[in-house]
C-alpha cells in the first residue's frame, strides 16, 4: 500500500474538518441483561459501508460484506466492543448477523455467570475511521433504558 492510498483510507480529520454535510457517523447498540440465562444480549447496529471501510482499513485489503463471511465482522467487533468486569475481559459469543442495503445488525451474547456488578463497556467502533463517530448504547438491565454516548473522548464507561 503506497502512502497516498494510506492517506485515503486513514484520512480522518476532526480538528480541521467537520462531519461531511450529508454523511454522519453513528451506531446504535442495545445491551439487555437476560437474568434467566445469565447473559448479556447485545445488538450492534452499524452502517454497512462504514463497517466495510473499517475492516478494509484494519486489514489493508479491500473488504466487501456481500462477498465475505462473518468472521471478519465478528473479529472487528470483538476488538471494538469489549465488556469488562473489573480487569477481566468478558468473552463474547458470536450469534450472527443480518444486513440490508444500508445497515448491519450484529448479535453477540456474553455469558456472565457471576452477575453483572461492575460491568463496563469499551466501545470504539469506527473511532479509527471517523473523528466524529458517535456510538449510542441503550442499556437495559433493570427494566428501564439508560443511554450512554461513546465517542473518542469517552470510549470506556461503566454500564451500571
Amino acid at each position: 500500500m503506497n502512502w497516498k492510498r494510506w492517506v485515503l483510507l486513514g484520512a480522518v480529520l476532526l480538528a480541521t474538518a467537520p462531519a461531511l454535510a450529508h454523511k454522519y457517523h453513528a451506531s446504535l447498540t442495545t445491551v439487555e441483561w437476560n437474568a434467566e440465562s445469565k447473559a448479556l444480549e447485545v445488538v450492534v447496529r452499524v452502517f454497512a459501508d462504514d463497517l466495510e471501510a473499517a475492516i478494509t482499513k484494519s486489514r489493508g485489503t479491500p473488504f466487501q460484506l456481500e462477498s465475505a463471511d462473518e468472521t471478519a465482522v465478528a473479529a472487528y467487533l470483538a476488538e471494538h466492543v469489549v465488556f469488562r468486569i473489573g480487569d477481566t475481559r468478558l468473552k463474547p459469543n458470536w450469534v450472527g448477523m443480518e444486513m440490508d442495503v444500508r445497515q448491519l445488525w450484529a448479535y453477540i451474547e456474553i455469558p456472565v455467570p457471576q452477575g453483572i456488578e461492575g460491568l463496563a463497556l469499551h466501545h470504539s467502533v469506527f473511532f479509527d475511521l471517523f473523528g466524529d463517530q458517535i456510538n449510542t448504547v441503550n442499556v437495559n438491565v433493570t427494566g428501564t433504558v439508560k443511554s450512554l454516548v461513546f465517542d473518542r473522548n469517552r470510549p470506556r464507561q461503566s454500564l451500571l
Binding site: 486513514g10 480529520l13 474538518a17 450529508h22 473511532f127
Partner: protein, 793 residues
C-alpha cells in the same frame, strides 16, 4: 378482565367524565398548550398565519466575478464587484461579508474550539496494539495536516465603486466592511474585492468543496464552492447573521444575480450554476449539436463521450479559456472543472412548459453507474419534488461526480459514490448514489429556493429535504431501501436519553444525523400518513413552499403555515416532536367490561344469585360445612329471614321499580333496553409523546376493526386516559398501532391481553436455531435417494 356492574348506560357516561376530571391541583403537564408563548410574536414581516407579512423585506446582492483557476498550483484568484441593495427599513453603517475559506486558517475558531482527541499511551512502537485500546492515527492527522496546510482567503483589496479603499476588519470567517456614507433604506452600493486562496485536498479535509488528484492519469478534478466573499444575510429576525462558520451549521445567504467568468486551462470542461453564455467559444460544434438534440430527446444524450473524455486526459494545454455563466435569483454559486469530464444531458419538460436541462458530469471512474443513473435521478427528483413542493424555477440541474460525497448548491451538486475499479458495484453503492443525487438535487427546493437559515436551523432544509427525498425514493421502485423516513427506524434513537430537541441550534446538536435529518423526516412522514392524511398534508406543504419560495422562512413560519393551511391544530405535534425529546410508547393498561343493568327485580334477582353462586365458598365455610349448627338443633330459632330467598323480588321492590321507570323518558327506556357491552379501555402514555391511538379491535367472531382515535384524547390528561367502546358483540383482544405507523417503542404493551414480543436479539437467535435444526433434519444427499423426504419423521 370481566366485571359485571349494575348501572345504567347513562351513568356509565357520567362515571367516565368523572374519572377524567379526577386529580387535584397538580395536573400533569399540558401537552396541548398552544405554542404562542414560545413562538415569536407575529408582526408586519411575518404573519400569525405563517405567511410573509405585508412589510416583508429581504436584502439583495448581485455579483460580477472574474476568476482564474490555476491547475499547476491548485489555486484560485479572483476579483468581484458586489452590488448590495438595502431593502431593509434600517440604515446600515457597515456590511458583513462571509469568508468561509478562513475556517482552514490556523487561527480559525473551528480549529481552536475543537476538544482534544483521546490519545492512548503505548508501550509498543507499533500503532496498533493487540489490545482494543490503540493510538488512533486519524486523531493525530489533523494536527499534522494543519501544520502543513495554510488555507484561508488572502484579501488583497477592498474598494468602493469609485476605486477608493474601504476600511475592513477580518473577524475569522467574517469580514466587516465600513461604509464611508451610511447606506439608507432603499439605497444600493457597490464594492470590489480582490483575493486568492489555495484549494484544499478534499480527501484530506473532507470538505464541501476541494480537489481530487487522479494518480493514474495525473489529472485534477475540481469541485469549487465558497470561493468568493459572500454577503452575510441581514434579516428582520437576527439582524446580521454573522455566527462564525464552525464547519457544521451551513450557510445563510441572500438572493441575487450572478455573472461569473471562469478562466481554466483550455482543455478543461466546466460545469456551473447558471447558463453558459459563450458556448460557441468554449464548446466544440459537435458538443453544441448534441446538447441541442438532448433538449427534446427521449433519453439522456452523450454530449462528451467516454472516449472523448479519456482522450482528453492526456492533453496538457498551456493556454486558457474563459467560460462565462449567468444565473438569476440564486443565493450562491458553485462550479466544477476538469479534463476528465464525460457529459450527458436530457431536457425535462415541466408542467409549466419550461424545459430544464438535467446534466451529469463525471470521470470515467464513475461508469458504468453514472451514465446509467445520474441524469435519470435528477429528472426523477424534479418530477417528484415539483409535485410536492413548487415547480423548479431554474433552467439547469446538474450532478457532478468528484471527491465530495454529497453537497448541494443552486442548480449544481457534487456526489461521490463510484463503482469499484473493476467496474462492478454493490447494491449499497448503487442505491447510495441514487439516494445522494435525489437528496442533493432536492436541496434546490430546500434551502436554495425556500431559503431557510442553515447556520441556525439544520432541520429546516435537511429535515424537509430528507422527507421529500423519502417520497421520491418510494416512487423509484417498490421497497426502495430508504435510509430514513420509516417510523420503525427512528425508535432506537427516540428512546435514547442522549439527545436534544430538534429545535436546537445546528452547532449544538447531538447525534446530528438522527436529530436534523432522520427525526424531522420521520415526523413529517407520520404527520402526513397518520395524523393529517395525504390530502391535507400535501396541500399545506405545497402552500409552505409556495409562500416562502425565494424568501427566508423561520421555524415558526413552517409550524404556522402547516396549521393554517391544513386547518388542524398541530401545536401538540410540534411540541412533542420538535420541542421535546419524548418518544412514543402508548400502552393498554387495562380493559374493563361493563354491562347494562335493567334494575328490573324479576331480571336482576336471578342474575345476582348466579353471581353469588359463582363465588367460591370461604375456607372456613367450607370446613365448617359438617359442623352441627344451633339453628338446626333448635328449630324454634328459625324465622322469616332464615327461609327467605334474598334474590326473590319483594312487592315493595317491584313497586319501586315501576315508580322509577315511570319517570324515564321513552329514549331513556330505549337505552336501558339496549343490550350492549361497554368496554372501558385505559391507555397509558409511557413514552411521553402524545399521539393518536390507532386501536385495532378483534371481535370474538374473528372480525377486525380499526378505530383511529385522534391525539386530542390526551388533551386533559396526557398520561392516562380511558376510552369507552360500546358494542353488542364480544371483544377478544385489543392492539395499538398494528401497522407500526407511530414509532411506538414498546410493542409488547400495545396488546391486550399482553402478548410477549421477543426482543430483536431473541428473535434472531431463535430463527437461527430453527434454521440450523432444519438443516440438520435434511436427509443426507445421495445419488439414488429418490424418496429422501419420506424418511423424515
Amino acid at each position: 378482565m370481566c366485571l359485571r356492574f349494575f348501572c345504567t348506560a347513562l351513568s356509565v357516561a357520567c362515571m367516565l367524565s368523572a374519572a377524567l376530571m379526577a386529580g387535584g391541583k397538580h395536573q400533569p403537564e399540558d401537552k396541548f398548550r398552544q405554542l404562542e408563548e414560545i413562538l415569536p410574536t407575529p408582526n408586519d414581516y411575518r404573519t400569525a398565519s405563517g405567511a410573509p407579512g405585508h412589510e416583508y423585506w429581504q436584502q439583495r446582492a448581485d455579483y460580477d466575478i472574474n476568476l482564474v483557476l490555476d491547475d499547476t498550483r491548485q489555486h484560485i484568484s479572483g476579483e468581484a464587484r458586489v452590488t448590495y441593495y438595502n431593502r431593509s427599513p434600517d440604515t446600515l453603517r457597515y456590511l458583513w461579508v462571509q469568508l468561509d475559506q478562513n475556517r482552514f486558517a490556523a487561527d480559525s475558531d473551528q480549529r481552536l474550539a475543537e476538544p482534544a482527541p483521546k490519545l492512548y499511551k503505548s508501550h509498543s512502537k507499533s500503532i496498533y496494539l493487540p489490545d482494543e485500546e490503540k493510538v488512533q492515527v486519524g486523531s493525530i492527522r489533523p494536527y499534522v495536516a494543519g501544520r502543513e496546510f495554510h488555507g484561508g482567503f488572502d484579501i488583497k483589496d477592498v474598494r468602493d465603486g469609485e476605486g477608493r479603499p474601504l476600511r475592513h476588519t477580518i473577524v475569522k470567517t467574517m469580514m466587516r466592511v465600513d461604509l464611508p456614507q451610511p447606506l439608507k433604506p432603499g439605497e444600493q452600493m457597490s464594492f470590489e474585492v480582490v483575493w486568492d486562496y489555495p484549494i484544499v485536498d478534499q480527501k484530506d479535509f473532507r470538505t464541501r468543496a476541494g480537489y481530487e488528484y487522479f494518480e493514474e492519469d495525473g489529472n485534477y478534478l475540481y469541485e469549487i464552492a465558497q470561493f468568493f466573499p459572500r454577503m452575510a444575510a441581514y434579516t428582520d429576525v437576527n439582524g446580521w447573521q454573522h455566527k462564525q462558520f464552525l464547519g457544521r451549521g451551513e450557510f445563510t445567504l441572500e438572493f441575487g444575480d450572478y455573472r461569473v467568468a471562469i478562466t481554466v486551462p483550455s482543455d478543461h470542461v466546466v460545469a456551473a450554476t447558471g447558463v453558459l453564455q459563450n458556448a460557441d467559444e468554449v464548446l466544440r460544434p459537435e458538443w453544441r449539436r448534441r446538447l441541442e438534440k438532448a433538449r427534446t430527446a427521449k433519453e439522456p444524450v452523450m454530449v462528451i463521450t467516454e472516449a472523448e473524455a479519456t482522450a482528453n486526459e492526456s492533453s496538457r494545454a498551456k493556454d486558457t479559456r474563459t467560460w462565462v455563466f449567468e444565473a438569476k435569483e440564486v443565493r450562491d454559486f458553485a462550479f466544477a472543472s476538469s479534463r476528465k469530464f464525460i457529459w450527458d444531458a436530457w431536457g425535462f419538460k415541466q408542467e409549466n412548459g419550461e424545459t430544464v436541462m438535467a446534466m451529469s458530469y463525471y470521470p470515467k471512474e464513475g461508469n458504468p453507474l453514472w451514465e446509467r443513473y445520474s441524469t435519470h435521478s435528477i429528472v426523477h427528483t424534479l418530477a417528484v419534488y415539483n409535485r410536492y413542493t413548487l415547480v423548479y424555477p431554474y433552467p439547469v440541474a446538474i450532478s457532478v461526480n468528484g471527491p465530495v460525497y454529497g453537497m448541494e448548491y443552486p442548480m449544481i451538486c457534487f456526489n461521490g459514490p463510484r463503482p469499484e475499479k473493476d467496474k462492478t458495484y454493490g447494491r449499497r453503492t448503487k442505491y447510495g448514489l441514487i439516494s445522494v443525487i435525489i437528496h442533493e438535487v432536492g436541496h434546490n427546493y430546500f434551502p436554495m429556493i425556500v431559503n431557510s437559515d442553515e447556520r441556525q436551523w439544520t432541520w429546516m432544509d435537511e429535515g424537509l429535504n430528507t422527507f421529500v427525498q423519502f417520497l421520491a425514493e418510494k416512487e423509484w421502485e417498490d421497497r426502495y431501501p430508504s435510509r430514513r423516513g420509516e417510523p420503525r427506524d427512528i425508535i432506537e434513537y427516540m428512546v435514547s436519553d442522549a439527545q436534544v430537541p430538534i429545535m436546537t441550534n445546528s452547532e449544538s446538536l447531538l447525534q446530528f444525523g438522527n436529530n436534523a435529518y432522520a427525526k424531522p423526516a420521520t415526523a413529517l412522514n407520520i404527520l402526513r400518513e397518520t395524523i393529517l392524511g395525504r390530502e391535507l398534508f400535501d396541500f399545506a406543504f405545497r402552500e409552505y413552499s409556495r409562500r416562502w419560495q425565494f424568501k427566508r422562512p423561520m421555524p415558526a413560519d413552517f409550524f404556522r403555515t402547516m396549521e393554517d393551511a391544513s386547518g388542524v391544530d398541530l401545536d401538540w405535534f410540534w411540541r412533542g416532536w420538535f420541542y421535546s425529546t419524548d418518544h412514543v410508547d402508548l400502552s393498554i393498561a387495562s380493559v374493563e367490561l361493563y354491562r347494562n343493568g335493567s334494575r328490573e327485580p324479576e331480571v336482576e334477582g336471578p342474575l345476582q344469585r348466579k353471581d353469588q353462586e359463582e363465588e367460591p365458598l370461604s375456607v372456613s365455610e367450607e370446613r365448617n360445612r359438617n359442623v352441627p349448627k344451633r339453628v338446626e338443633a333448635y328449630a324454634s330459632l328459625r324465622d322469616f329471614y332464615n327461609d327467605h330467598d334474598p334474590f326473590t323480588p319483594t312487592p315493595l321492590q317491584e313497586e319501586m321499580f315501576r315508580e322509577r321507570t315511570e319517570h324515564f323518558e321513552p329514549e331513556e327506556l330505549k337505552l336501558l333496553e339496549a343490550d350492549l357491552n361497554y368496554y372501558m379501555v385505559t391507555f397509558e402514555n409511557v413514552g411521553g409523546l402524545v399521539m393518536p391511538v390507532l386501536l385495532e379491535i378483534t371481535y370474538a367472531d374473528g372480525e377486525i376493526e380499526e378505530q383511529r382515535i385522534p391525539a386530542e384524547i390526551w388533551r386533559r390528561n396526557p398520561e392516562r386516559v380511558t376510552k369507552l367502546i360500546a358494542t353488542d358483540r364480544e371483544i377478544k383482544s385489543f392492539r395499538i398501532d398494528p401497522r407500526w405507523e407511530t414509532a411506538d417503542a414498546d410493542v409488547e404493551n400495545n396488546h391486550y391481553p399482553r402478548k410477549p414480543v421477543p426482543s430483536r436479539f431473541r428473535l434472531f437467535k431463535k430463527h437461527k436455531r430453527n434454521q440450523m435444526q432444519e438443516m440438520q433434519k435434511q436427509p443426507p444427499v445421495s445419488s439414488d435417494a429418490g424418496s429422501g423426504a419420506s424418511d423424515r419423521p
